[in-house]
């Protein structure tokens, strides 16, 4: 083994590297951090030219909405605790409670439970505790300053978009579409990926090649194919289904199927490479013992496939959740998901209040993704590299 000394960077180089990484991290996180800060301020502060005004929000504080240093300390501690729980503990708990077979279901339930608990702690418990503490501390001289508002913060933009503008409907639509896409895409894709990994026929080869071509297609090409039949589907299907013929345009389940199909090429490539890593001897042994192919798949492969499936599922989730083009063209206003819905917020932008509301909507969309990276960082990284190493 080479001694570590010889490749140890010299001091100036180490400093350069450190500086470069710090700059990169700043650039990577800054835009997202900044819109999060803006979303909690009154428009005057949020669009101020002075960055300090944006951070401390004097107008927002003057309007009587603010956080004291005490709140801030408590809040940061809570956030840190929630991060540690999500990143370090949650995976272990889920694996222990759910066991191998039910792992994905465990993740879904665990994730939802965690989200609910986190929201409860942040929205109900934290303000109550902080309020109580402030009331105790305030009369004490000097220490009482800790309880005075230091940073302006308001939740009114969130309250406005989520309830008055009914953004929660878009959230539910997003939830339905995303859940549908992930479930169907994984069910269908796992079967196909497994078969593709266990066969050497030229048919499989051509299937994978065409999947690769499909993967590269711009989605607008496909949507121009869907639109006319989707809008007229009631007339087209009438001879077969009679009056029950549905208009596919605007139907969430039709969009789910479309997104599943668009996502299928990527899913089968990725799952195929995961299954290729599971030794074929495993299911061959089960087949020798008298299992059918399906039996071998269910009893032997299913228990060991979850890491790959979860990773692929994350990417399906991202595709469905982040999609703008397909959902904005194929869904009407009342079934709209969150990402296209936000376009109506920022296109309105007549007043700065509208703009800050759009910012708050944007932050609301980003928050679940943020949680996703915290919990699944390892899987995302392994998914990104799996595609590269396997081609």
């Amino acid at each position: 083994m080479m001694s570590a000394k010889t490749v140890q960077p010299s001091a100036p180089l180490r400093w350069t590297i450190g500086l470069f990484l710090a700059t990169w991290c700043l650039i990577a996180a800054f835009p997202l951090f900044w819109i999060a800060v803006m979303s909690f301020k009154l428009p005057v502060d949020a669009f101020s030219a002075n960055p300090l005004t944006v951070i401390f929000g004097p107008q927002t504080r003057a309007a009587g909405q603010g956080l004291s240093l005490l709140d801030l300390a408590l809040g940061l501690a809570t956030l840190a605790a929630l991060y540690v729980v999500a990143a370090k503990k949650l995976g272990g708990w889920v694996e222990r409670v759910a066991g191998e077979t039910w792992l994905p279901l465990g993740w879904v339930v665990g994730g939802l439970l965690y989200g609910a608990v986190a929201a409860g702690v942040l929205v109900v418990l934290l303000p109550a505790v902080a309020g109580g503490l402030e009331a105790v501390v305030r009369p004490i001289p000097l220490v009482g300053l800790l309880a005075e508002p230091a940073i302006g913060l308001t939740l009114e933009h969130y309250a406005n978009i989520w309830f008055e503008q009914e953004f929660y409907r878009n959230f539910i639509n997003s939830l339905v579409v995303t859940a549908g896409v992930v479930t169907i895409s994984l069910t269908v894709g796992t079967l196909a990926g497994y078969a593709l990994a266990r066969t050497r026929s030229s048919l499989a080869f051509w299937l994978l090649i065409s999947a690769l071509i499909f993967r590269a297609l711009p989605h607008s090409v496909l949507v121009s194919g869907y639109l006319p039949p989707f809008i007229n589907s009631a007339e087209i299907l009438e001879p077969f289904l009679g009056d029950a013929a549905p208009t596919l345009y605007g139907q969430p389940w039709a969009v789910i199927l479309v997104l599943v199909a668009i996502n299928q090429p990527f899913t089968i490539w990725m799952l195929r490479s995961f299954f290729a890593n599971i030794p074929a001897e495993l299911d061959e042994a089960a087949r020798v013992d008298g299992c059918t192919h399906f039996g071998a798949f269910r009893r032997v492969i299913m228990p060991v496939m979850w890491p790959g499936v979860i990773t692929t599922g994350l990417f399906s989730f991202l595709l469905a959740y982040n999609d703008f083009l397909v959902t904005s063209l194929l869904l009407d206003a009342q079934n709209q998901t969150m990402v296209p819905a936000i376009a109506s917020f920022f296109n309105r932008e007549t007043t700065t209040t509208d703009q800050v509301r759009a910012v708050a909507a944007a932050v609301s969309i980003t928050a679940p993704l943020f949680l996703l990276v915290i919990v699944f960082q390892r899987q995302i990284v392994s998914g990104l590299t799996a595609g590269a190493v396997k081609g």
Binding site: A28, A216, L217, V221, L222, S224, V258, F346
Partner: protein, 342 residues
């Protein structure tokens, strides 16, 4: 695995792909040659106002949509050949621009399709080296950083990659819009008034910046994984032979990463060619549009509620020709990798 079993496993996925990818492709191809339009009829309407000695009558010829018995508009589908393509590419306008001589480029960039093509190609080709270079730089830096710092750095780096593209673009736009803090900082530095969204080229720079910010983490993670498998013995011999840090990078590390660089480049080419969300996020349609946005714009209902499906199909087909050209090297590679075993 017997063909029957194989089909049972692959069946559902195959059906979905045929139904929702292959068939739409064929129908887009056909749609680009046919046009569905409302049938209009010309009718003479006589309007009479009371008058003396005879009522005052005027006869007007009115064009109005033909209605069937149930009151719906009648549509007909006619074969228009390459008309839709002509409407998109506008060969006459190109010829006119060519004849005009020196301001050929500025005239050409007034035509939507050519404007979109120009932007899409510059976008793809300029971001490519930036993404690969920045990704490689971060990967090398993280590889040299303290082990305990690597996890948090990867976490922060993943954020731009995972964020919804439209939202990512918006978050950068809000930093620059109007008197946004970064515009303000730039103005303070240069001492001039800056309006980032008033002209095309500044928006274009923002769009390029956003894309590099968004994709560099992907390149970084892939290269970082590749760096973990660099052959330590080769590196050690290079050190013994007196190779400098740069020479080790040039002759050992980069060749080792070459397949990954090719992979990242191809994926990036495919994705950047589909550039679309930036146009929405930065609202750049007045100045800069992309090929995919051109199709999207045709598909969106216009003021009278019509969608120009056949033009959208024509521009889709043209976009696809570009993708096929980009894909050839990737397909060749897959062919080589798979065929010997297959």
């Amino acid at each position: 695995m017997r063909p029957r079993t194989f089909f049972a496993f692959v069946g559902p996925s195959l059906v979905l792909m045929i139904l929702f990818i292959a068939i739409p492709l064929v129908s887009v191809f056909l749609q680009s040659f046919w046009q569905t339009q409302t049938v209009f009829e010309r009718v003479e309407i006589e309007n009479c106002t009371p008058g003396f000695p005879a009522p005052n009558c005027t006869t007007q010829t009115v064009t109005r949509p033909l209605l069937d018995e149930s009151g719906r508009t009648v549509t007909e589908t006619i074969y228009v050949g390459l008309d839709a393509y002509r409407a998109v590419v506008q060969p006459e306008a190109v010829a006119a621009a060519f004849a005009a001589g020196e301001d050929f480029w500025s005239r050409l960039s007034n035509i939507d399709f050519w404007k979109a093509l120009r932007f899409t190609l510059t976008f793809t080709l300029i971001t490519l080296p930036l993404v690969v270079g920045l990704g490689l730089a971060i990967a090398l830096a993280v590889n040299a950083a303290l082990r305990s710092l690597r996890g948090p750095i990867i976490f922060v780096s993943l954020l731009p990659f995972i964020v919804t593209p439209v939202i990512g673009a918006l978050s950068i736009r809000w930093l620059f819009i109007g008197d946004g803090i970064l515009t303000n900082a730039l103005e303070a530095m240069t001492g001039t008034q800056i309006f980032m969204f008033a002209q095309g080229w500044t928006i274009e720079i923002l769009m390029l910046t956003y894309r590099v910010w968004h994709v560099a983490p992907f390149a970084f993670v892939v290269f970082y994984a590749g760096l973990q498998t660099v052959n330590q013995d080769t590196l050690e011999s290079a050190v013994i032979d007196g190779a400098s840090r740069f020479e080790r990078l040039r002759y050992v590390v980069i060749p080792h990463l070459m397949p990954l660089i090719v992979f990242v480049s191809l994926i990036h080419l495919m994705d950047a060619y589909r550039v679309f969300e930036e146009v929405i996020g930065f609202s750049s349609q007045a100045h800069r549009i992309s090929l995919q946005f051109l199709t999207y714009d045709f598909l969106m209902p216009d003021d009278s509620g019509n969608r120009s499906i056949s033009r959208a199909s024509a521009s889709s087909m043209l976009t696809m020709i570009g993708i096929v050209i980009l894909l050839v090297p990737l397909l060749m590679r897959t062919w080589r990798d798979y065929k010997p075993r297959g």
